[in-house]
Amino acid sequence: MLLARFAENAFWLGRYMERVESLSRLLWVTEAFAADQESDEAWAPILSVFADHESFSDRGKSMTALNVARFYLTDKANPNSAAFAAFMAKENARILRHLISTEAWREISVFNDDLITLQKRRFALSKLSDICLQLRDGCYRHRGVMESTCFRDEVWRFNQLGAALERADQTTRLIDIKYFRFDRDDDDAAAPPDVAWWNTLLRSAAGYHAFQRRHSFNADAADAARFILGDPHLPLSVANAASTAVYQLERLERDFDAKPGPGVNAAAQALKARLESPPKRLAGRTLHRYIDAIQQEIIGLANALNERYFAPVG
């Protein structure tokens, strides 16, 4: 039976790699949209989404696009940065080395080396979207190598569980940027760049074309939000991520007799119920509050998992 400590490392390997991927997406969206606006204002919302205003201003850097981008890409002292998440992913993988494939370790190792090279180069803003895509592709490669080479044991299940939970959480943050950027004071009128914004978001979430196929006519902003939150077929949707998490729990019980138990089951149910009953209006402050509630459910589930699987007995 798998050690509790390894289950936790596998879970966090999944979470951290997913976090890198999501950060690359978040920065890409911001950059893509800011390019239209010619204003550094576009970068402030990221700090809000992660509640990072304070730790960013501690660094004494001015609020420019480049500084915020570096803060989230290469600042290893920032626990919300891609550099930090990639480092933590590797350290978790290091502890799991005897349990994951050599191919997976190799890939994580090479990926980290690439990031270290990136840290040494002081990149310019014009390179940002390239770098984001490169990071994202690295994460895709990671997922592919894991998928192709890892034995489907408890380590795999916990890894996928962590990745799914992080994905659910990060997708809510991706949606929430808009609230911080445009909707803050106005709960009723849609802000002018609405359609363009959602299109960018859909593209970043690899959902733009699928969305067009599903909602070819008269699609509005709320449809886009509903799609990214709740479409069961969109890989990055919160609903899809949540049901993947639940599926991993089922497999842990079925294949390895590692029953989630009442605490985890209740938390998973609560998340599911929350996702099945969205508010009527998926915009503005209502949407923001709903997202906040989903994030609370995700935290609840993570805590329950910690209590059930990772806190060692004895």
Binding site: M1, L3, R5, E91, E154, Y309, V313
Partner: protein, 484 residues
């Protein structure tokens, strides 16, 4: 012979060369007619160096590394790899293997006696204080019966070769000898990166080490345990040998645990903490020193160990490899007595000679040492890691007179050995194929019987003329081929 023959300028001088010299009364691996030498002579130096760089890069990517931690983060370093293998003839190996088995059998018999009836001490073959006052002697192990009488399940015998090609034992390692992962990974690397060098060469395989080790651990499991749950206990990712721990856990298919994952209950049973509660553990291959193994019995401040392990061992509910207190057998002073120890327990003459060792606590030897200080290497027996060693031929007058005083004052604390130049092996350098000094560490496993991994770790001093093969001082390693 093509103009760019890689071996054209190769000259081992007065040193014994593993590839080109013929040992006295022994067989060489074929010298210039060796198929590998012939094949290599057709290679282009630059391509070979480039291919080796690529191979080393792959070692790094695969994480066959030791890790150095600093404020800047974790840096993974590789052990430099040399693609020109060290070859051992089948005949040489036969006697090496027999010699290693004999030596380790004697080491285990010695440990069983020392922690049992102490006959060898009573018979005055080994001085009593040498053993009982040794810092690795563990009083707590007196009278404890171990399965198969095995104390050093995994032993490493450090060998060098003198100017005549005779193999000599330099040191025994009875606690946690490391390096076996490099033996196997070096072979994998050769097969991956230099298949053309290996093609058609008949070499003994090394890949079943994990299976053999697991077998020995099963044979030495606590009594009546048929299918023991084995774990490998590591100090953790910060240990420089962590890769080897990963490697061995993977090869044996066992959990790689840390002290905090284990737990000893009031019934002296050992458990590990899993996602479904506690699971019984029967055998622990530990890579943690005695001192840190059990804070209940040894160092109280140990964060790495498991309180109660000794208790469980004494109750016969867990096996620990290597045994607590096995270090008393690989002490430098005890080493000097090894030929007598072999004779005492096995009634045989030692197959592998020690490096000639003068025991300063014995009057004749002391007189010889004092007369010949400038030609000898003097070592304090209580130190390790090369501390306090005085190399006569390289020492200043002041150093010689200081060591003379020290030896006279406390002869018991010193041994002395003649200066020995290690053998050399053709090694790839940016300037061509050059002789570089090597040593050899075969790995010996003991359970119901003894098994020796064919070959062992060949370490090579990459710097010209250097005889320091340690990785911390620019040493690398080579694949070691035992010919069939």
């Amino acid at each position: 012979m093509p103009a760019k023959d890689l071996f054209k300028d190769y000259d081992a001088g007065r040193d014994f060369c593993e590839t080109t010299s013929k040992s006295v009364g022994g067989k060489s691996v074929g010298g210039r007619n060796n198929p590998l030498t012939k094949r290599l002579s057709r290679y282009n130096l630059r391509t070979l160096n480039q291919r080796n760089k690529a191979a080393e890069r792959e070692l790094k990517n695969l994480g066959i590394t030791f890790t150095v931690y600093s404020d800047a983060g974790a840096i993974d370093r590789i052990l430099p790899f040399d693609p020109l293998p060290r070859q051992i003839s089948a005949a040489d190996w036969k006697s090496l293997e027999a010699g290693c088995k004999q030596r380790v059998a004697a080491l285990n018999a010695f440990l069983g006696d020392v922690y049992g009836k102490q006959k060898i001490l009573k018979d005055g073959v080994v001085p009593r204080d040498l053993v009982l006052q040794n810092k690795h002697f563990r009083e707590e192990m007196m009278g404890v019966k171990l399965p198969q009488g095995t104390y050093t399940h995994i032993a490493g015998v450090d060998l060098i070769r003198d100017e005549n090609g005779a193999f000599l034992v330099l040191e025994d390692n009875c606690r946690s000898p490391s390096g076996v992962s490099y033996v196997i990974e070096n072979r994998h690397l050769m097969m991956r990166s230099f298949p053309d060098l290996m093609e058609g060469v008949k070499i003994q395989a090394v890949s079943d080490y994990g299976k053999r080790l697991r077998g020995k651990l099963i044979e030495t499991a606590p009594p009546r345990v048929q299918n023991p749950n084995i774990v490998l206990l590591t100090p953790g990712v910060f240990n420089s040998a962590y890769f080897e721990h990963v490697f061995l856990a993977r090869e044996m298919g066992v959990a790689l645990v840390e002290g905090r994952d284990l737990f000893v209950d009031d019934d002296d049973r050992v458990f590990m903490k899993t996602i479904s509660g506690l699971e019984r553990v029967h055998t622990i291959y530990r890579r943690i020193d005695d001192d840190f193994l059990d804070p209940e019995a040894f160092r109280k401040d140990s964060m790495l160990g498991v309180p109660g392990l000794l208790r469980s061992l004494k109750a016969g509910k867990v096996s620990i490899a290597n045994a607590i207190g096995a270090g008393v057998a690989d002490d430098k002073a005890v080493y000097a007595y090894m030929p007598r120890i072999i004779e005492y327990y096995l009634g045989e003459e030692a197959i592998l000679d020690n490096v000639k060792t003068y025991i300063c606590r014995e009057a004749d030897d002391l007189a010889y040492v004092l007369d010949n200080l400038k030609d000898l290497v003097v070592k304090p027996v209580s130190e390790s890691g090369g501390y306090g060693i005085v190399v006569g031929p390289k020492a200043s007058k002041a150093e010689l007179s200081a060591i003379r005083k020290a030896v006279k004052k406390d002869p018991k604390n010193y041994i002395a050995q003649p200066m020995i130049n290690l053998s050399v092996c053709p090694t790839l350098t940016p300037k061509g194929v050059k002789p570089r000094h090597v040593d050899l560490r075969p790995f010996v496993l003991t359970g119901a019987d003894i098994w020796v991994l064919p070959g062992g770790l060949t370490r090579v001093a990459m710097r010209e003329g250097s005889i320091i093969v340690n990785s911390s001082q620019g040493g690398g390693s080579k694949d070691t081929w035992v010919m069939r």
